[in-house]
Symmetry: C2
Subunit: 507 residues, 2 copies
């Protein structure tokens, strides 16, 4: 029987590649946190070399020779029918990655990277000047290349499927479209009820909130979540992110605003959720797919579960709000727990995705999903995108951007060529609610534990069921294993209706 | 005529290797500054892979093919007799590095690295327990391997020459021994006169010195020196160091002590001197020897010039001492400029190298030089080293360690296999004094400029004459070009006698 140990020549080779990827992640982390600004040109070159080497090794003839020792070159099946589950999972997932990598010709990859690097610069300028025309030629070039990429990768239904598959393996437009349509209907109905409610939570006082105390409170929350500071650290960056070099070194960043304490609180909870996933991967599997997260959607489920399901619950703040008020007695002295809880759960249609509440956030995603699908299908020309964006925002949320800066230019994703990425945010919300529901079943006293500041049973639950498995199971399989059913958006709706029903006193 | 541009295939290949070395330096910087402690195991693996790849590429057949396009494979001469100076320098220096790298068999290098990694751990434990016996077997193994290394590398006179050549190309024991003997005599005579002086500078008050203010003052000094913060940064680490990834990203660290403000002041000046060198290398030559420092001794000359010649001068503090007193009014209110200047120039034989003054520091080096030479020559057994150490310290400085923790175990260098490294510290002092003397000739109003806080003319002088040339000239050639004479320790003695003569009122 073939075991993982038998695959040592392959896993040792992959581990070397993982070392290059870890090095590249450290270089990127440094770039976002501490690098002096004059160093950016040289850093881009170093990153290109290190990432290029990783790609070169992964697509080298050695890799092929290793794979065909255990896999049938013709049909991709594993030669040993009795291979154990970890060995099967490693071979299956490495083959998947290898095939995707090999299908893209190296000159094409370089050309796409250069195009995206230029588009990134152009996007920065266009957003600053709120002038879509500066970005249009770059986006046009990227859309053309992404269609080409899809052709190289291959697909059975639509070109978009080949792209979304990079972020959420196995996901397709034919699954997303009805899912999002159903969700849109349900969310619209709930939003209408909320908008009709006479309840209007008061916003939190506009500070000032001391930056050092915000960072200290963020660390307190992260520690309470079980995020290990001996295996990680918290820094500041322009956009919060999480990056893992190894389960023993997983770093999170936050953004601090003197006027809005929620920015750091919820970015710490969000990135902490990502961080727990990466710290919870099995270090014995480092370098293999079993030491990697399942998908972006699954990763996002962990951040959303902590940011929203736990982080915006009354139970969490029963424990932490007295401490928060102690830390910021000036602005928070007259805000009660209930007022705080309502403030952090205010629903209001708005223009900017990253500032949207938990409910309307999904409309932002659905709008982007529909537009990027049309772009890739050639049904929408990049020249017509701003108008289509504005109409979609008006049609879905009743808001219209005054300019493209608060409209189509707000996100960096398309400038990076990340088409098919946006849906993973909403998938993350759906997965999170489904897991959250199951966790409440499995851990009967979860609300009481959270009220007591005891988050470790939930951490263990997530670690045992999700984190430590890496890519052993697909997203779909993992959902079924843990919750007994496939992806079901009703759990998300039940969760939203329960919470907002109480806050907005819905009938 | 062969020019540097013609060498593009070679320099492009070398630039890729430089990218890996830069990546490795970022990984090491992070390790010393921000890495969570749990991440050390994984980091060591990543570093080993990245450094291994750099070595692999540098010794690969491609490298050989590139070199023999322009160099005669038999006698190492450059094929084109009309090649221009930069092309000649690049080929000469790359060949030198390549030959050194190729002469060491890969299994030997791995074995040495593993031995040193274990020795490092053992040294940490031995130093903590002040128990040399714990370190002895490791040092014995390293000495044996270093003798073997010298045999692989080859040498014409003594095995030690092959080792010191790694740090100070072209330097040999037959040059160092008489140089250090002469220096020892002159230093001993000066030390005796100082010890006979009735002057005893009072130590500075033991703080408290606020850490944040120390860092701010360090940044102020660095900025005044012309260290560019848009191409660098200042952080804290256990042992101060400088690391350059590219001339546009050169970072320095410092150590902050609440009791002793001089620790951060002089480490900032020292590392700032190193930092200026690395920031002053020509970015157009990045990846080639012309974009690298000449030698460790020459690098140290830059740090010593700033730390000592400039940093312990009365002129510098005429400008900065009022600012320092403003920053630390508590401890420094009653200390006059002259008292401060005397305190930072106190000469006193002591046991610990890194705490030694500018004069007695060199005795620490000479003791180590003599011992490591005997170890490599097989004239001294590692078992007898502590006794030899203690006798040498007593004989030279009149002090005897109470235990090996403050004796032979104080330095990490031998545990890292760095035999032949110590002399570069004193060479740095000698080079620095010789440059300092010349700078005063070339810049007639230098003392006045420094008193006015105007350090930029000195920076430009150093940049034009030293930094921007990289490895174009050897240490010897550079000294001759700039000062018109070979290495001459009299400049160092003149400098010391001038300063200490005034402070200690020597006849």
């Amino acid at each position: 029987m073939l075991t993982l140990a038998d695959l040592h020549p392959l896993t040792a080779y992959l581990t070397q590649i993982a070392h290059l990827q870890s090095a590249s992640s450290v270089l990127s982390w440094d770039q976002e946190t501490y690098m002096p600004r004059g160093g950016s040109g040289a850093r881009a070159e170093v990153l290109a070399t290190v990432q290029g080497l990783a790609h070169e090794r992964f697509t080298a003839p050695e890799m092929e020779e290793l794979l065909w020792r255990w896999i049938d070159v013709d049909n991709g099946t594993i030669l040993d029918p009795e291979a154990d589950a970890p060995a099967r999972a490693v071979l299956r997932e490495v083959l998947r990655d290898y095939r995707r990598a090999k299908r893209l010709p190296t000159p094409f990859v370089s050309h796409l990277e250069r195009t995206c690097a230029l588009a990134h610069e152009a996007w920065l300028g266009a957003r600053e000047k709120r002038d879509y025309a500066l970005f249009l030629p770059h986006l046009t070039a990227i859309v053309t290349l992404k269609r080409e990429e899809a052709a190289y990768l291959g697909y059975s239904e639509t070109a978009y499927d080949a792209l979304v598959d990079a972020f959420e393996p196995g996901m397709t437009a034919s699954r997303l479209t009805p899912l999002f349509a159903e969700l849109k209907t349900a969310l619209s109905a709930l939003l209408a009820r909320i908008m009709d409610s006479p309840v209007r939570p008061a916003p939190l006082p506009a500070g000032p909130y001391d930056a050092q105390r915000q960072l200290a409170f963020g660390s307190l929350l992260l520690s309470a979540m079980g995020y290990r500071f001996d295996h990680g650290r918290l820094d500041q960056s322009a956009h919060p992110f999480t990056t893992g070099f190894h389960p023993t070194d997983v770093r999170v960043t936050t953004r601090v605003s003197a006027e809005d304490v929620t920015s750091s609180l919820f970015s710490c909870l969000h990135e902490g959720g990502h961080g727990l996933y990466d710290q919870g991967l099995d270090p014995a599997y480092y370098g293999t797919p079993l030491g990697e997260a399942v998908s972006l959607g699954m990763h996002e489920s962990q951040s959303r579960l902590w940011e929203n399901c736990v982080g915006r619950s009354i139970e969490l703040w029963r424990h932490f709000y007295p401490l928060l008020r102690q830390a910021f007695p000036g602005p928070l002295a007259r805000v009660s727990l209930e007022e705080f809880h309502a403030a952090i759960n205010t629903v209001k249609p708005s223009l900017i995705r990253v500032e949207a509440d938990e409910l309307t956030y999904n409309f932002h995603i659905i709008v982007r999903y529909e537009l990027e699908q049309q772009l890739i299908a050639g049904q929408l020309s990049p020249a017509d995108l701003p108008q289509a964006w504005n109409e979609a925002m008006h049609g879905t949320l009743g808001v219209t951007p005054r300019d493209d800066g608060e409209g189509v230019l707000q996100d960096i994703h398309w400038a990076h060529g990340a088409f098919g990425y946006f849906p993973t945010y909403t998938l993350g919300n759906l997965y999170a609610a489904q897991f959250w529901q199951q966790a409440q079943r499995d851990l009967a006293d979860l609300p009481t534990l959270i009220e007591g500041g005891r988050l470790d049973p939930l951490v263990s639950w997530l670690r045992d069921r999700i984190h430590r498995w890496g890519r052993t199971h697909s997203s779909d399989a993992l959902l079924r294993r843990i919750t007994g059913e496939p992806l079901n958006p009703e759990h998300f709706m039940t969760y939203l209706e329960g919470k907002f029903g109480a806050i907005y006193r819905l009938a």
